[in-house]
């Protein structure tokens, strides 16, 4: 009888079972790792979106005068004057401002709140060109702003703004400049139904309460869960009307 190389049936069965066990073990390991990675990623995305939304809106909302600069407010939208630059009038003869801002003034979409001795007034921005003749401070550049009507005689400074609105729609915080399209500012991870803008005291707004709920995520048969708890951010207006006994 010749010697035969190879596996017997029992050996083969044992090998197959061992392989199956190992494969199952690795599959569970990989699935858990992938689930953990997915959960961690979703948590970070949601936290990032919530944080970004809160930071962006706080920067945008805090300097507003609630009675002058905040327009229609609904659960899912908030119309406002979005400030884009601040100019200090340095040469009235040429309407030259020492300007600092997120971008240069744009006559196609910007207006100007003129600050002076009387009440603040709003004028349209007709033209904006580089200016000269004044000394600037760090962070400033010179802008010559032509407005319609012309700047009042007591003008001292101007806030350049565009009309805009923020929306909580299609699972993201979105910004709509004027009549343009809505641009997402966060990843699509916010729950529309669970998120909301609320003006605190509609008749005398002192701030905006911002509720941000991340959309629930799921994995296989494990059910769906929120990666982070809903977050409420209270953003107060710096320019809210002062109580008679308040101090600056």
């Amino acid at each position: 009888m010749t010697a035969r190389n190879g596996y017997g049936l029992v050996e083969a069965v044992v090998a197959v079972v061992l392989c199956a066990l190992l494969a199952a073990l690795f599959a569970v390991l990989l699935r858990d790792a992938a689930r953990a990675a997915h959960h961690a990623g979703a948590t970070l995305d949601a936290a990032d979106a919530v944080r970004t939304a809160a930071v962006l809106l706080a920067a945008e909302l805090r300097p507003l005068d609630p009675h002058e600069d905040v327009g229609s407010a609904a659960r899912d939208s908030l119309a406002l004057r979005a400030f884009r630059g601040l100019g200090i009038l340095c040469d009235p003869a040429t309407s030259t401002f020492r300007y600092r801002g997120l971008r240069n003034p744009d006559p196609s979409k910007d207006s100007v709140i003129v600050l002076g001795a009387g009440r603040d007034s709003v004028v349209a921005l007709a033209a904006a060109t580089a200016g000269s003749g004044c000394t600037t401070l760090p962070g400033e550049r010179l802008q010559r702003l032509t407005t319609t009507p012309a700047l009042p005689a007591d003008a001292a400074a101007g806030i350049v703004f565009e009309a805009g609105s923020y929306h909580l729609s299609s699972n993201a915080l979105r910004y709509r400049p004027g009549r343009g399209g809505r641009q997402p500012l966060t990843a699509d991870v916010l729950d529309d139904a669970g998120s909301a803008f609320t003006l605190t005291t509609a008749s005398d707004p002192r701030g905006v309460s911002l509720l941000l709920a991340p959309v629930a995520i799921g994995w296989g048969t494990a059910g769906r869960w929120a990666p982070v708890a809903p977050v409420t951010a209270a953003i107060g207006f710096l320019n809210r009307p002062a109580r008679p006994d308040s101090v600056p």
């Binding site: 690795f26 390991l29 990989l30 790792a33 992938a34 990675a37 961690a40 990623g41 970070l44 936290a47 990032d48 944080r51 930071v55 805090r62 300097p63 005068d65 002058e68 400030f83 630059g85 601040l86 200090i88 009038l89 340095c90 009235p92 600092r100 801002g101 997120l102 600050l115 002076g116 001795a117 009440r119 603040d120 962070g139 007591d154 003008a155 001292a156 400074a157 806030i159 710096l238 320019n239 002062a242 008679p244 006994d245 308040s246 101090v247 600056p248």
Partner: protein, 372 residues
Amino acid sequence: MRNRRGAALLTALLLLFLLELLAAALLVIGTQHRSMVRAQADAWQARAAAEGAVRLAAGDWSSGFDTLGFGDSATAIPAAGTLPDGTAHGARVERLRDGSFLLAGEGVTRTGAAANAFARVRTADPLRMWADFPAAFAGGADVELLAGAVLDGANAGTPPGWGSAECSPIAALERSMLLGAGPLPAVLADTGAIVVLDSTALAIGGIVHAPVHSAPFAFDGLGGLRMADLARLADHHVAGIVTPGPSAAGAVCDLSNGNNWGDPLTPSSACGDYRPLIHAPGDLHIDGGTGQGVLAVAGDLVVTGGFQFRGAVVVRGHVAWDGVAWGAVRAGGVSRLAGRIHHSDCALWRALHSPSVGRPFRTAERWWLPAF
């Protein structure tokens, strides 16, 4: 030994590599997020420090800033500081074209994150306020001088008990520059207003009719400031029936007491130099007592009980006066005057140049400006 071939080691290594790749990716993402969070926290810290610097500058105002010309700037007081966590802050003051001031604050964290904050404040201009007191009493409607009333615009008197320490020579200089050097009328009434004088009442300096509503915010403020501005500046807000009087603990004047309107009768006392700005958001009844400074009433004013006041009084509504005033009084509504009102350069000057009037206050509209 047989040469046996298998893939177990390779497979295990591959799986380990995949798991490590996953862990590394998570670590990178986590680290990036932590950096972002830290950067945002630093930015907020810097912004908070900048806003704090603005508030500090507004709260520690130097009257020297009033001499800044358009476009001039100065380092605010306190000049700069450092928070316990190492965040540095500072502010500067710049005079704007409309006379207001831009407070520019800056905060820089230990990690180098920087932020700005800007606010606009105003200060009252005492020189403009003089123009609102061109007579012992200025009324925007009918005026009745009751029996025994004495209104004296002609003698520019020094209040009893006050001397050179209280009455600066600048008072007379400012008065003659802004109101003229001659005697002033006892009553300046609006054109068309009826002035009724009891036979026993005295109007020293005479009664003059002139338009008195033409000045900005004529009876709704003072020297170009609206009543709302005065409310923001005020040391005390009062309502109802009050009997003011000095309040001190030893040698320290109690500034927190809303009924403490200074001590005009004893200028050397603890509250002798305290000349507050008092604001009444509605009607006010003063029943006796003493006070000095600036009294601004947004409603009607009733004075009884021999109340004595030294300084400036502006009333938006009606006045029923039966007290003693050194300084001047103006009221927009119908006025019934008994007691005495003496136009006094000295008392007016002391009131209009009090620290309470000279400090900065937020503009009526927006005072925080956007920072970029």
